[in-house]
């Protein structure tokens, strides 16, 4: 299984990472190396094995539905790239 240039551009878009035309060859070659490595998994017959998502058997904890946090939005927004009147600024999305 090896990737094509188009697939790399598609992945880059899904991952929201710009990969310039000049970089595609290098990225493609390295991704193909890694895919070659993980391809080794296919040689094992795992029929009947239960997938393991997590090391420990964990159950979601529940808690009272009560307010435990205080409002710190000014502090949290102090590290944001662009804020105005308590709102995060992003490029216009809706015309």
């Amino acid at each position: 299984m090896s990737l094509s240039h188009d697939q790399v551009q598609r992945l880059a878009l899904l991952a929201r990472i710009a990969v310039g035309p000049g970089e595609t060859d290098a990225v493609l070659a390295q991704l193909n190396r890694v895919l070659e490595l993980i391809e080794q998994m296919q040689k094992v017959d795992t029929r009947g094995v239960e997938p393991m998502a997590h090391a420990l058997d964990l159950r979601q904890r529940v808690r009272e539905d009560s307010v435990t946090e205080r409002d710190q939005h000014a502090l949290f927004q102090s590290v944001a790239p662009a804020v105005e009147r308590g709102l995060y600024l992003v490029p216009k999305v809706i015309e």
């Binding site: 991704l31 808690r63 490029p91």
Partner: protein, 486 residues
């Protein structure tokens, strides 16, 4: 004092032989002298450290000293620290000051520790050499031309060079144990869930676990008592009673069953590593341990499995870096999509991007079952290998890494070569098991070799016991690196 154990430092502070302010000054001067060459610290704030030290002295004078009151400690730059940069080794967070402290940072502060600074690391903990750090690689104190290992390379280098008595690290596929081995220090990855991940920048959440690096197993035991404990803010934090990890340190090893996995002693092991680890096993036998061969047959699949699961989790976790709420944002863009794409292209380095793309691929439609689900099934087989082995032995011993420290640049062009070097440290986190690495000798080049000990879930006290007994009979852990003499 630079070379003293935590209990010696604690005793010196208690008897007023030295103040925390004097002690902190000593380590800050050491950092000032060595950091330009070793690059082990990304951030040091001398005034803040000294203020904390003076406050610790005042608390001690008032009769309220805790376990680490006045003892300087450094944190890997993956742990959020309020009011001090938390970069995670990335351009993405190069200017990020966290509005809150990580649970681990809170625990150390509550125990009275003085924060010395933040240690260098591979970007977002993705790397085994520290070379992916946006701030340049930390260097190995045994030979500055070599890597310190990674991803907690700055923490390991700082402890080895006696720039700090102890440091925190995180381990996802070996990021505490491998740099500990390559720098000749002791490092412990606890059982998954023992140390809260709250405020620890997430890489692969089902594997990430914080732990300590220090000069000895006895120091690790004390540090683990500070770090471990239930925290409701981490949904995978384990609810169990606090443990005294020092209770069994001196327990004799007579009758201890030590499993030697045959897959850890095959081809590809450097001769110097094989010799030192073999000698270490004989020392355990001299103390009465019984060794037996065990098998972990799926060891060879651990690296491929890891490079599906960890990137898959990373691709999800790192989606939060979008240039909106915190971190880097591109200066120029056309629209929202372009802002995301440029921000992430600029903010992430090559290795991080590679892993996000791999993770995106293995989770994408049509490949999910072939890669992600297959990897999860193999993960179970790897965990079952360990369960079968621990039915026959108490601890597993072997090399931490197949090689000693390598040259800067030696493996950075071939990511897969770098990945394969982690073959012995990747299995334990996949199973969620604890493991530690301690120095067990040197190769022909004079570089430290690490002995890895792995145990069953929550067997940290036993692992520390074996490591401590070994260190009582040897002095490898007390050697000072030649490129950072005292």
């Amino acid at each position: 004092m630079l070379n003293a154990s935590l209990s010696e430092i604690s005793a010196a502070l208690a008897t007023k032989a030295i103040s925390s302010a004097e002690l902190t000054r000593l380590f800050l001067d050491r950092i000032r002298a060595l950091n330009h060459a070793l690059n082990a610290f990304i951030t040091v704030d001398e005034e803040r450290s000294l203020a904390e030290a003076r406050a610790a002295d005042a608390r001690r004078a008032a009769g309220s000293a805790a376990a680490l009151t006045g003892i300087p400690v450094a944190h890997k730059d993956i742990f959020c620290t309020r009011g001090m940069l938390t970069t995670c080794g990335s351009r993405m967070l190069a200017n990020y000051v966290s509005p809150y402290d990580a649970h681990v940072v809170e625990r150390f502060a509550r125990a009275g520790a003085v924060l010395l600074g933040k240690c260098n690391m591979d970007e977002f903990a993705m790397g085994s050499s520290n070379e992916t750090s946006h701030f340049g690689p930390a260097r190995n104190p045994w030979d500055r031309r070599l890597v310190p290992g990674g991803s907690s390379g700055g923490s390991a280098a700082a402890v080895a060079a006696r720039m700090t008595p102890a440091a925190t690290g995180t381990d996802t596929g070996g990021s505490i144990r491998q740099p500990a081995a390559l720098c000749g220090v002791s490092g412990l990855k606890p059982t998954y869930g023992l140390v809260s991940r709250y405020g620890m920048v997430a890489f692969a959440s089902s594997l990430d676990q914080g732990g300590p690096l220090a000069k000895s197993a006895a120091d690790l035991a004390l540090l683990l008592e500070v770090m471990a404990g239930f925290d409701a803010r981490d949904s995978t934090s384990v609810e169990r009673a606090p443990e005294d990890y020092r209770r069994d340190l001196d327990r004799p090893l007579a009758g201890l069953r030590v499993g030697l996995p045959k897959e850890y002693f095959g081809d590809g092991l450097e001769p110097g590593v094989r010799r030192a680890v073999g000698e270490a096993v004989r020392e355990l036998e001299r103390q009465g341990a019984i060794t037996l061969e065990v098998s972990l047959p799926n060891t060879g699949l651990a690296v491929p499995v890891y490079y599906v699961l960890a990137p898959a989790e990373a691709s999800s976790n790192l989606s939060r870096f979008d240039g909106v709420r915190y971190g880097h944002r591109a200066a120029q863009y056309d629209d929202l999509l372009d802002m995301y794409c440029r921000t992430r292209a600029e903010g992430f380095g090559a290795e991080v991007k590679r892993r996000i793309l791999i993770g995106t691929y293995v989770l994408s439609h049509g490949y999910y079952d072939a890669y992600y689900v297959q990897a999860q099934k193999l993960r179970r087989l790897i965990a079952q290998d360990f369960a079968a082995a621990f039915a026959r032995c108490d601890v597993i011993a072997g090399p931490t890494s197949p090689s000693t420290a390598f040259a800067l640049g030696a493996k950075s062009d071939d990511p897969v070569q770098m990945y394969l070097n982690d073959i012995f440290t990747i299995p334990a986190p996949l199973a969620g098991l604890p493991g530690l690495s301690i120095p067990c000798g040197f190769d022909d080049k004079g570089l430290p070799v690490g002995l890895q000990l792995m145990g069953d879930y929550f067997s940290e006290a036993r692992l520390l016991n074996v490591a401590h007994r070994y260190q009582q009979a040897t002095d490898w852990h007390a050697r000072v690196p030649k490129d950072a003499p005292l």
